[in-house]
Amino acid sequence: MRRVSYPYLGNATVTFKKLMNALGNEVVLPRRPTEETLSLGTKYAPEFACLPFKIVLGTYIEALEAGADTLVSTGGVGPCRAGLYTTLHEKILKSLGYEFEMITLEPPGRHLKELIASIKKLVNRKLSFSDYCRIGRFVWKEIQLLDKVEKLSHKIRPLEVKKGETTKTFRKCAELIAQAQTYEDLLEIEREAELLYDKIDKKDFDPLKIGIVGEIYVVIEPAANLEIEEMLGDLGVYVERSMFLASYTFYNAIMDLFRMPGERDVKKIASPYFKEMCGGHGRESVGNAILYAKRGFDGVIQLSPFTCIPEIVAKSILPKVCAEHDIGFLSITLDEQTGKEGLRTRIEAFVDLLAAKKKYKAMHKKGDVTYGTLLGH
């Protein structure tokens, strides 16, 4: 039996395990990236590689040490280096003497044949058509549910009366989902999760709203972004991020296969500012920032790994886009640093800025602006 492992990606890590198990593979569960993971990745990665590359490399080494013989990762198209990362990871790991097979899942829109060949390698059990349907329905539901409980946590965290309660509830929900075995389990958990969130004591006020855009790994994986969403929530801010696993997979794998628009809408919105494709999620960052502005958000935070070209391109365009759409902008570059204080200082100052601006606008409407007395408190 294959012993499969793959990069860690938040709570979906467990969902992917269930999928791999159902297809007849044993799974070496990747660990949540820690400082140790990062040290391992940094040691063997090229110095100028980005943070996601290093974290994923570290995760692979940990998985191989734990006995994995197959690594599964996604490929990609376009100039972003991440499309080549799987190949580079494989070379580095083989040169370190590990023996394993690397299976790359390429996007179906352009590499359908390769994708089917890769998936075949991962199916190691006789499955009927109805088995596939059952597995597909379950996994899809689980990813959606995970995204749902996370979105709920972002909505409720700024309103909570007792600090930390939302985070606790979210962790509990994620744990319940991890234990689910059938579609019916998931439906039950969905109801229970809603109840749990309902029970949290909430304040009644209109919080500041911040949208997060940027490179997918650092946006989705809290271990790679110093838990920025939690930090913002604790400051009483409603956070929404532009990328969730379910919608991302849906638009980039399935819709793309049938040449349907989806994420492409975001790209279209970005096109007056950003026409050329530069790989990664550069255009999505710009498009999503505009969408947040149109929806009345107060600010946009861009997360980018140090040296990430698509995000560097987006970073030079975003200040102008945000100024034109009258929405605050802050860019955060993430690298190996694990100290949170520098980030906290910037985030606090940004939230102060947005609060002051909101107050200023409200007062401006009433026409009683007092000079210099409204610094966000």
């Binding site: 820690t34 520098g342 210099g372």
Partner: protein
């Protein structure tokens, strides 16, 4: 009469100020942190209590990278990031300020204000070139007291071009030019220009710098840097009289504005209380966080350093 205490604990210096009811500066103290923030804060409190004046503290604000620590030791009503604190202080002194340039010991920032509110800011993220520590080091290497460093630059007629992208490049370029026999004055002026270029290209990248421009932080004392900024920006740069302690002034102003009923200030006796810090490695997960305990006479009153908050002390 009511007074407000502001404490700014930075990596290089710890500053304490006392403001009166009108927000005017009564007393300012500047101490080198020297890697021992607890000691620096306590020493500052002691100095404030020893100068014979009676302070009736109604509010305390802390800021700077050591603001949490200062808040625990002195007992603070407001704990604020240094960007907001610096902006508040600049606005008090120059109400129509639109740009604040701040260069401290180990970081630098730019704050953009419009109509009295902060609209944008940036802090240096990648390098220390152009901060106080680097200038200190270069002054020391050239054997010139840091206080006179800027005046050397003013005497130069023909600045030498120095590479400004990075402190390492700047230093080696300086040494090479020195060895070729260029005058010290010209090298220093060239260095100031290089650092200003670096600041404007890094921290000030993409920001609309409009007058009035206020320059604060420890480096604002350097007349060479001020002149180089004026030259590069083509506008007058105003340096507040108390430029070194603007962060602390901002913190005190914020404490004043918070208008708390009863301050959490421990009193100046806090300088006599025994505060200690110790740390341990958490084995809860493979992050192995280094958790720090802050103890007041042996009892843990605050704890930080853990990523997951499991060690949070109840009540803080």
């Amino acid at each position: 009469m009511a007074h407000y205490l502001g404490i700014d604990v930075g990596s290089v210096s710890t500053n304490l100020v006392i403001l009166d009811e009108q927000g005017e500066l009564e007393e300012a103290i500047y101490i080198r942190t020297q890697g021992q923030p607890i000691k620096a804060i306590q020493e500052g409190l002691k100095l404030l209590s020893q100068n014979g004046k009676k302070w009736d503290i109604k509010g305390v604000g802390t800021t700077g990278s050591g603001r949490q620590l200062a808040a625990v030791i002195a007992g603070a009503d407001v704990v604020k990031n240094e960007i907001t604190a610096h902006a508040v202080a600049a606005m008090k002194e120059v109400p129509d300020v639109r740009t604040v340039l701040e260069i401290g010991g180990q970081d630098s920032k730019i704050i953009i204000l419009r109509d009295g509110i902060v609209t944008d800011f940036a802090m240096n993220t990648v390098c220390a070139a152009g901060t106080g520590s680097f200038l200190d080091q270069q002054a020391h290497r050239l054997g010139i007291p840091i206080e006179e460093f800027g005046y050397y630059a003013l005497r130069s007629k023909n600045p030498v071009r120095i590479a400004g992208r990075c402190a390492v490049f700047a230093e080696s370029d300086m040494i090479h030019k020195q060895q070729l026999g260029y005058k010290v004055e010209d090298i220093i002026r060239g260095l100031c220009q290089a650092l200003v270029r670096n600041y404007l290209n890094n921290v000030g990248k993409g920001k609309e710098i409009l007058p009035r421009v206020v320059f604060q932080g420890g480096v604002a004392a350097n007349v060479g840097m001020k002149a180089a900024f004026e030259e590069a920006l083509g506008t007058e740069v105003y340096v507040p009289k108390h430029h070194k302690v603007m962060g602390a002034i901002g913190a005190a102003l914020l404490a004043k504005e918070a208008n708390v009923e009863k301050t959490k200030f421990r009193g100046f006796d806090a300088s006599e209380i025994e505060f200690t810090a110790d740390s341990f490695e958490c084995k809860g997960c493979s992050n192995h966080c280094e958790v720090v305990n802050i103890r007041m006479e042996g009892k843990v009153i605050a704890r930080w350093g853990d990523r997951c908050n499991r060690w949070k002390v109840i009540g803080d």
